[in-house]
């Protein structure tokens, strides 16, 4: 697909609804502004200076009139506000059975990691009809992943994960691009967004060269960077076990309880002093200068894959 349709096609149900919302709102806008344009033109002609006309008018103010033209457009706008806000809130309700794809942005490229370990740069293949969740991290500045066909964008902020989810329905080749100004080659930071039939996607996954799945790659990192030295039952160091950690509530020092989500795992690797699991010594060093966001995503995938099973079964 080429030209404008690669940008403007409605690829998802969400995109269609955003367009419907926008177009209905444009109609409202038009109906509110048209009287102003028409009346100004009519008045300028009819009451231009020197032209005879009936100019008797009783008053120079009318509180009810003024209140009504202040309140009625506002009330109409509120109706649209409710619609738009519900649509927006949907973006925050992540589907449970989604395909999770990791995204790392850096000046000036997009890197995507599929759960099976397939990696692509500036190109994202997704299956049609299946919910996809993108977990996005930035290696340097703020970027913004923008897929116009989905009517979606989300800033990718260094220091945290942001997420975006969608269900693309219409197979085809579309655009993805960076919307937040990120430096010299900002306008070249983009590529193709490929929506494929499920079968084609499965085929594509097979044909793409893979070292190992993300979690397995993470397991390798887990050993090479010495994480296993402390976070294993046999270790002499008193460090919390990571089995079944993901999704569990963790009591942390200071009495708070937090859920061990991706962000928690990421922060524990890069900013280990921020949230110490209660009852453990503060001995974990930071890996901020050692690991890039791509490696961290792999480690997170590995730790997420750890079920609450005895340690040695996995060795």
């Amino acid at each position: 697909m080429d030209g404008l349709s690669a940008w403007a096609s409605e690829i998802s149900a969400h995109a269609a609804e955003v367009d419907l919302l926008a177009m209905s709102f444009f109609l409202l806008v038009l109906s509110l502004s048209a009287p102003v344009f028409i009346l100004m033109a009519v008045f300028a002609v009819r009451y231009r200076r020197g032209k005879p006309a009936d100019r008797v008018h009783p008053i120079d103010r009318n509180v009810w009139l003024e209140v009504s033209w202040a309140i009625i457009p506002f009330a109409l706008a509120i109706a649209f506000y409710i619609w738009a806000t519900r649509l927006y809130a949907n973006l925050y309700e992540l589907p449970a059975d989604a395909l999770e794809i990791g995204v790392v942005a850096k000046q000036w490229m997009w890197k995507f990691q599929h759960p099976g370990g397939q990696r692509e740069i500036d190109e994202l293949h997704v299956p049609a009809g299946q919910p996809v969740v993108l977990t996005m991290a930035s290696q340097d500045v703020i970027h913004s992943l923008y897929i116009p066909g989905l009517r979606l964008k989300r800033d990718v902020v260094p220091g945290r994960y942001t997420r975006m989810w969608f269900t693309a329905d219409k197979p085809g080749v579309y655009r993805l691009t960076c919307a937040e100004f990120c430096g010299a080659d900002h306008s070249m930071m983009g590529g193709r967004f490929v929506v494929m039939q499920q079968a084609d996607y499965a085929l594509w996954l097979e044909q793409t060269e893979v070292d190992a799945s993300l979690a397995v790659q993470g397991a390798v990192l887990f050993r090479t960077y010495g994480c296993s030295g402390c976070h294993s039952p046999g270790a002499t160091v008193h460090a919390p076990s990571l089995d079944g950690l993901y999704g569990r509530p963790v009591p942390i020092e200071g009495g708070q309880i937090v859920t061990a989500d991706e962000q928690y795992i990421r922060d524990s690797i890069l900013l280990p002093r921020q949230h110490i699991a209660a009852g453990y010594p503060r001995i974990m060093p930071t890996f901020a200068n050692v690991l890039g966001e791509e490696e961290v995503l792999k480690l997170v995938a590995y730790i997420k894959s750890l079920r609450a099973a005895p340690w040695k079964d996995r060795q």
Partner: protein
């Protein structure tokens, strides 16, 4: 600064061949004649002379910023951007933004027409602190010189928004120097705002009650509130950003536990109200021009006056609508989106009340009305598309695209710049004491309106189709609309230069204007044109409301 020569080339009394023989007595006693040396201009504390100093410098910066825009539009004619390099383009739009926002739009109407007219309109001899007023101009110039130095030294490429961590850790340009320039010019804004507030409170002539103030004064008062309360936060934000860049203090750096989004909060706490700093004075100008053109009191004076204050207050409550996709919490976004819609209430009041003012008026189709009408039209489009981007689900799509560019250019260029030119055409006879050719004024207004729409309307479409802003290289599919936009920009550029030709010409060859060339009400039209140095020989006593046009004229006429 070429304009200052033109000012000094006004009729020479000793030259018998000079058409300046037509010079009137009043012109001889005017503020323009109060001294001829450069020193008498550079050390003046007369608000009218300071206004002229601002008028010249602000206009110079308008054309510098405009030149950057011309470069960008020329570059965007081809999708691969043949004219500039990537970095060159980034530097061009950054300087365009920085110069237009802080060195033109924010000071534009307040420092020129506000300075010139506020004392005249309220019946005072000067602003409350005349020396502070001069100081603000020097501070403005200092900030301006920093910016021009940066321009010459190679520029900066962060965008005018200076988002961290791009600005604090990654950008190569002179970020700190530009931050210093904006920091400095901020004090100029603060002092101007302070001066206006005190003046309006304490220097009104006897009988000039709040209900008798012109709407121009109300909107400048509201503007000053924002200037005073918002600008210091920007100063501190820039200090933190510069400290981050120089020493790595970490407030905006996640590696030290800081938050890059905090910068956006602090920045937009200033920069969203700053939009209203730019547009409120324009709204004041429009109210004046509409009432003057219609020869009728403004419809619903108190609603229009109150809505200026309401806009000033609400403007502080909406900044988060710049951050719907930035990683701000969903709940905060919902709050900010709702509050943003609230701005529509006072803005709507103004629009409809202006329209109602024209009803059964005696509308003089002079240049000021053309500019006012074009202001209202463009402001309506810009304001209502502002509501579109306040709708969160739509904003997720159009945020950071050309749709947003078009939206705020309709407000700032379509709105504020039109009002700036409208004010120039309305009060020019008062400022220099001569009239210009009205036909030229009307033509200019029409050209600006057409050129503007041709430039920016295609950008709405570009944005909705998905073209992101700050793109130097774009998909060839967008070329047609971009070429249209650039064509419009060339018309606009000519239309913006044109007035300076006939207005400067009029300073020498125009007919004497007399005190009240438009036949309108208002204290500034009761004094000679140009006004004498002390404004009023005797401080007037005010007994009537503003826009007090006689009723019999209303019903009569023919």
């Amino acid at each position: 600064m070429t304009d200052s020569n033109a000012l000094d080339s006004r009729p020479d009394r000793n030259d018998p061949h000079d058409p300046g023989l037509s010079e009137t007595m009043t012109e001889r006693e005017s503020y323009l004649r109060a001294g001829h040396t450069l020193r008498s201009w550079l050390l003046t504390t007369d608000h009218k002379r300071i206004a002229i100093l601002y008028l010249i410098t602000v206009t110079v910066f308008f054309f510098i910023g405009g030149a950057a825009a011309v470069l960008m539009r020329a570059d965007l004619v081809t999708p691969q951007g043949d004219l500039l390099s990537n970095e060159g383009y980034n530097r061009a739009f950054t300087l365009h933004g920085v110069i237009m926002v802080w060195f033109f739009l924010i000071p534009s109407i307040p420092t020129t027409f506000g300075n010139f007219l506020i004392p005249l309109m309220i019946g005072a001899r000067d602003l409350a602190f005349p020396r502070l007023n001069l100081l603000s101009w020097y501070i403005y110039m200092l900030g301006g010189l920093f910016t021009i130095y940066v321009l010459i030294a190679g520029g900066v490429d962060t965008g005018w928004t200076f988002y961290t961590p791009l600005s604090s850790m990654f950008a190569n340009g002179h970020v700190v120097l530009v931050a210093v320039a904006v920091f400095i010019v901020g004090f100029s804004s603060i002092f101007t705002g302070l001066n206006f507030i005190v003046t309006v409170h304490k220097l009104r002539a006897p009988g000039m009650t709040w209900g008798r103030l012109r709407l121009f004064i109300w909107s400048h008062y509201a503007t000053s509130l924002i200037l005073v309360l918002a600008t210091p936060v920007l100063s501190m934000t820039l200090v933190l950003m510069a400290a981050e860049r120089l020493f790595g203090i970490g407030v905006f750096d996640p590696k030290l536990g800081g938050d890059p989004i905090l910068f956006q909060h602090l920045f937009w706490f200033y920069s969203h109200p700053a939009v209203y700093i730019m547009v409120l004075p324009a709204i004041g100008v429009a109210s004046e021009l509409v009432a003057a053109a219609a020869h009728k009191p403004i419809f619903g004076y108190w609603f229009v006056a109150g809505s200026s204050i309401a806009i000033a207050i609400i403007s502080f409550l909406v900044w988060g609508h710049h951050m719907f996709v930035a990683g701000q919490s969903m709940y905060a976004s919902a709050v900010f989106s709702f509050l943003s819609l609230a701005v529509a209430v006072p803005s709507g009041i103004k629009i409809y009340n202006w329209t109602a003012t024209l009803y059964k008026g005696h509308i003089a189709l002079d240049p000021p009305f053309f500019f006012a009408a074009s202001f209202i039209g463009l402001f309506v489009v810009g304001g209502l598309t502002g509501l579109v981007v306040a709708m969160m689900a739509v904003d997720v799509h159009v945020h950071d695209t050309y749709f947003v560019i078009a939206h705020f250019h309709y407000i700032m260029v379509g709105g504020t710049v039109s009002a700036y030119f409208g004010a120039l055409h309305f009060w020019w006879p008062k400022m220099v004491g001569r009239t210009y050719f009205l036909v030229w004024g009307r033509l200019t207004a029409i050209f600006i309106f057409l050129g503007f729409n041709l430039t920016f309307f295609p950008q709405y479409i570009l944005g909705y189709l998905g073209m992101p802003r700050r793109y130097h290289v774009y998909d060839p599919a967008f070329q047609v609309l971009n070429v249209l936009s650039s064509a419009g920009a060339s018309i606009l550029a000519i239309a913006y230069v044109l007035p300076f030709a006939y207005l400067i010409y009029s300073m020498r060859y125009g007919d004497p204007a007399g005190p009240n060339p438009w036949g309108v009400t208002g204290l500034e039209w009761t004094v000679p044109s140009p006004p004498p140095k002390e404004n009023f020989a005797e401080i007037p006593v005010v007994t009537t409301g503003p826009y007090d046009y006689p009723m019999e004229l209303e019903s009569r006429d023919g």
